[in-house]
């Protein structure tokens, strides 16, 4: 079920959809990573592995254009990506370390807001469906304040399920999830990839999916 005005486009071009060439990442004014290259086609998964402090989170922030790269460039569908690039932002979704959930509002309110911010309209049925996909069926009217850390993480994952975008950039999606929720999320990710989406995931967990791995050892 995709949203009205959803962001799926037919992958009609040849060549990689999402790629980086000679990417360099800085943190606090110092170079953390250099010479990152990759090219991803629809349906491909890239796992970022490395110890704490190796720059996984910083690299993800560069990949979603929140941070400009220190060197190199990023390309989406053959066009270079800049900060504030609306075309790229409609097609991508980011999940950071922090959930990005407003604790003062309700669960459904959060998801409706996220949809509007992304330029989409979500009906109540679509919000409920997204919540069911992460195991929070019927949690719509609840206040976020009353939920646990793991449940809040799941709301952030429901946001991904609601938006249905081509590119997922995820920073440790499993953090705070119990075994059952983690399995549900893996299913979600598998469905996304099978549907032609691309995912770049920084994780400590071994993902049970076929994908390439980029090791970022210091």
């Amino acid at each position: 079920m995709s949203l009205a005005g959803g962001c799926h486009e037919h992958a009609s071009e040849q060549g990689p959809k999402f790629g980086a060439r000679g990417l360099g990442v800085q943190r606090g004014g110092r170079a953390v990573l250099e010479g990152i290259d990759f090219a991803l086609d629809p349906g491909e998964l890239l796992e970022l592995r490395g110890p704490n402090g190796s720059g996984k989170s910083s690299l993800l922030r560069v990949l979603c254009a929140l941070m400009p790269p220190a060197a190199g460039e990023l390309r989406w569908r053959g066009e270079p990506v800049r900060a504030g690039d609306a075309r790229f932002q409609r097609a991508s979704a980011y999940l950071g370390h922090a959930d990005g959930i407003d604790a003062d509002l309700g669960v459904a309110e959060n998801l409706h807001f996220a949809a509007r911010l992304a330029g989409q309209e979500a009906s109540a049925a679509q919000v409920d469906a997204a919540l069911s996909q992460v195991g929070l069926a019927g949690a719509g009217p609840l206040a976020v304040r009353s939920l646990s850390q793991g449940q809040r993480r799941r709301i952030a994952l429901a946001r991904l399920a609601l938006r249905r975008c081509d590119l997922w950039l995820l920073d440790e999606p499993h953090s705070g999830l119990d075994a059952q929720a983690a399995t549900q999320f893996d299913g979600l990710l598998r469905a996304h990839l099978d549907g032609g989406g691309i995912a770049v995931v920084a994780t400590h967990h071994a993902l049970d999916l076929q994908g390439r791995t980029l090791r970022l050892d210091a």
Partner: protein
């Protein structure tokens, strides 16, 4: 691998000649060579200007010897505003071209700008006391200088408060730009406020009519301040480059 400055543009290798000096590694030796010349020129011009102002220029009929402080007050006020505009220009360069050296130049200029603002305020007070009987006068120029001082100090406070040097540079660049757009508004509003409340009675801008000698003296002092600013900024920016580790290691 040598860490040099980087831009977002596709590397085509060729940049205009002057832009090449935005590389810290090339700028540093140039600055080292030029700084002493500027400081020397500043010293010479200052001596000349002070000689003209304090010895050659005639005594004013109304204000006596006190008016001579104008030779320091006015150039200092000019410089304080000019330096802020320069900082804003470097800030704009830093934000558009993503060069770190531009924002470091802005940071290097800030303390000098603040110094000239303080100098303008102090000399204004020294002029006001014998002339009007009070140490502080709410005239348009002094009030603008006071607000300008707050802008400079705010810039320096922001730079000191942010830990990440890169974020500090870019935030300060934006602040300088925003402030520069505001400076004409502030100046206009202060002048408007001044005429509204006081009329034309008290004004430090009511300087004695300018004989050409006096004008020459002020221009010499202004040039001296300008040379001093450049020299000191070059020295300071070299220190900042080292502090932030922007130079590729010590040369053997």
């Amino acid at each position: 691998m040598e860490r040099t400055w980087s831009t977002q543009r596709e590397g085509d290798g060729r940049v205009p000649g002057w832009l090449a000096y935005a590389s810290p590694a090339r700028f540093d030796p140039l600055a080292a060579r030029l700084a002493p010349w500027f400081l020397g020129a500043a010293a010479v011009l200052a001596c000349a200007g002070l000689y003209v102002g304090f010895v050659l220029a005639p005594t004013d009929a109304q204000q006596g010897e006190v008016y001579r402080i104008i030779f320091i007050h006015v150039p200092a006020a000019w410089m304080s505003m000019f330096i802020y505009l320069l900082m804003a220009m470097y800030g704009a360069l830093a934000l558009v071209l993503h060069t770190r050296l531009s924002s470091m130049m802005a940071s290097a200029l800030a303390p000098t700008g603040a110094l000239f603002t303080v100098l303008a305020l102090v000399t204004g007070a020294l002029w006001g006391e014998p002339t009007w009987g009070t140490w502080w006068v709410w005239d348009a120029r002094l009030t603008s200088e006071l607000l300008l001082l707050f802008l400079y100090l705010g810039f320096m406070a922001l730079e000191a408060a942010i830990d990440d040097p890169r974020r500090a540079e870019r935030a300060c660049a934006l602040l300088a730009l925003v402030g520069a757009i505001n400076v004409p508004v502030i100046y206009f509003s202060v002048r408007w406020w001044n005429t509204l409340h006081q009329g034309a009675s008290v004004s430090l801008t009511a300087a004695p009519s300018m004989a050409s000698v006096m004008l020459a003296g002020m221009l010499l002092m202004a040039l001296a301040c300008w040379m001093y600013t450049i020299g000191v900024a070059l020295v300071r920016v070299r220190v900042i480059l080292r502090e932030r580790g922007m130079l590729p290691g010590r040369r053997a």
